[in-house]
Symmetry: C2
Subunit: 345 residues, 2 copies
DNA sequence: ATGCTGTTTTGCAGCGCTGCAAAAGCGTAG
DNA sequence: CTACGCTTTTGCAGCGCTGCAAAACAGCAT
């Protein structure tokens, strides 16, 4: 491996000090046009590219941020991942991915061990196994932005959509269709289930706003938000005396699992049971039937989170912890509205 | 941000030179038990953790490998991604992700610009927009392992399953069901479509082996392997006079798209048309109906690729380019075999 | 004691860059 | 011609670690 071109090589060719080359390369202010051009030319002639490692060591920063998510093969996260990478890259940062499998110990190790000695400068974190209390005790030296639905409690930045409002909208949509025996799949009435609880709250509020009573026994808990749990929960519901005529699922995967069971049992969606999901993953749009859903603005979530994290990283005095809300919208598809018109695709 | 503990701090406390501490930390051979213990204790007392950046700068390596894929939200890649991260991490390497969107220019820039000055030491590359010729001209200084179905041509390592054999198996499965009007969706008869062409070859071979004639007009090309193209191609097929009674789709996404169209048109899968996919993504197992598929051993692909890449990175003399085959298997589900027995999930 | 071998430890330089503060240049005023 | 303030350029040290080769040490034979 031949030696790479260094700052000094460029300096020599351009007839200036290496520090000046550094200034030019980094676009610092006080450089005469004349020297700037001269250096520029030398850079091009030699094909110089800065050594990121050396730069970061000298600067005391790694130029990388970590994205910590529970699962990578969950469509919601892989879609989000893209946006985060894009946002970070455009700001000169690289993204390291870490998958926790929702293991609290893994999550804790990450935020406790801090920045693992300059492997990354900050973390965008989507917690699953850790609850508020554990999160609140994180190393305050580690810039951290939390995604998802937990409120920050004032100890760190937090980016998410308004889950209660979104869930209320989803529920209202089902009520608007004339359905009255509404089930909810995905509640998690324990410390780490804050996201789920907000959705349950929205579900309740929608009923209350219309003077309707929530069928408490139709609120089904699931340990996770995946197809399997959705399928299983739906099976439970169908085994009852009076099964629901509509279901609000706390994720699109849960909805897909629920639909799977419904179709398997010979029931029609939405004629017999209307189903709405949450997250707007691509699969939902192409399943049979396409799934109505709450669509969070993932691009917005990603850029907001990255911007806030970089602010926190670069700011000399730590900015206050804030709640940042990204927009969402209700997307109505066949799983609630029914076949509109047969299409080619 | 308080100063971190350095090698020198540990050395001072342990009463040895910093070089010795380094030796202990890196597990080098010739260290007496006595000093090893003494240093170990100091390390723990101070909570020392090596600065990865400094280490890599000194070593002249970045300790990171890049994984370059066309799309991250494609389930196949996001599932593969996990395995690659796991494999790399367990060998002390980090993974940088790059999504190319299949843009040949982006891909070329990546392999041409080489290691972007120590940002990464090697690349696991899943090409889409670049063909053989372009790939062959890559910077020989950059360790590179190519995933997917292209043959290496002797210029770089290559990891993949035996596509022709797998495709033949898939096709034979359809023939075994008694189907005779077989369609294939996904052919790409141009330079960058080598993967598709291998599958088409397997499709043909299966016919030939049984003395059957391939219906050439039922081999449909698609620019990409996604749901949309699958749905569209299926629509084309159904608009013909004699639509197929079975379809071999070159990816599960294509299969899902095709099924979407079939169901939309009121046709039954597999009774009217049997559908088999390729990749064994999780969605396929939970769709309606679950999709039969060719299942490549992704874990094996990932570990093989990472191991080979690390060998190439660390080896003083470049090892010869090789073809490495990962196993695959045929997974039969309802989209070809029909409902076996109604299940709860 | 002396020399020789092999093991363990050390010092130094340097990876390629940036922070800092001093030095040099330069235009204008006194 | 000197002084002053401002802009531009430079030198040096150092980020924290490892490669290299020399130094110190130990064990053993002479």
């Amino acid at each position: 491996m031949r030696r790479e071109v260094t700052l000094r090589d460029v300096a020599e060719l351009a007839g200036v000090s290496s520090r000046t080359v550094s200034n030019v390369v980094n676009g610092y202010a006080n450089v005469t046009e004349r020297t700037r051009v001269r250096v520029q030319r030398a850079v091009e002639e030699l094909g110089y590219r800065p050594n990121v490692l050396a730069r970061n060591l000298a600067r005391g920063r790694s130029g990388q941020i970590a994205l910590v998510v529970p699962y990578l093969d969950t469509p919601y996260f892989s879609e989000l991942l893209q946006s985060v990478i894009r946002a970070a890259r455009s700001r000169g940062y690289n993204v390291l991915i870490d998958q926790t499998d929702g293991d609290p110990e893994h999550e804790r190790a990450f935020i406790a061990h801090g920045s693992r000695r300059l492997l990354f400068d900050g973390v965008v974190f989507s917690p699953l196994g850790l609850d508020q209390r554990a999160l609140a005790g994180h190393d305050p030296n580690l810039p951290l932005v939390v995604l998802g639905e937990r409120s920050s409690n004032g100890t760190f930045d937090h980016v998410g959509i308004d889950d209660v409002a979104a869930s209320r909208e989803a529920t209202e949509h089902l009520l608007d269709l004339g359905r009255r025996r509404l089930a909810a799949i995905g509640d998690q009435p324990y410390a780490t289930g804050e996201a789920a609880q907000l959705r349950t709250r929205g579900f309740r509020e929608a009923h209350q706003a219309r003077g309707l009573t929530v069928r408490e026994d139709l609120i089904i808990g699931t340990p996770r938000f995946n197809r399997k749990d959705g399928a299983r929960a739906m099976a439970h519901l169908l085994d009852r005396d009076d099964p629901p005529d509509a279901v609000f699922c706390y994720s699109d995967l849960v909805a897909l699992g629920a639909i799977h069971t419904l179709v398997n049992r010979g029931l029609r969606v939405p004629e017999d049971v209307a189903v709405i999901g949450y997250d707007d993953i691509e699969d939902g749009a192409y399943s049979n039937p396409p799934v109505s859903t709450i669509s969070p603005d993932k691009e917005m979530i990603a850029t907001t989170a990255v911007d806030r994290l970089l602010l926190r990283i670069t700011s000399p005095t730590p900015p206050p912890a804030v709640e940042l809300r990204a927009p969402h919208k209700l997307v109505v598809r066949e799983s609630t509205a029914g076949r509109v018109t047969p299409r080619a695709g």
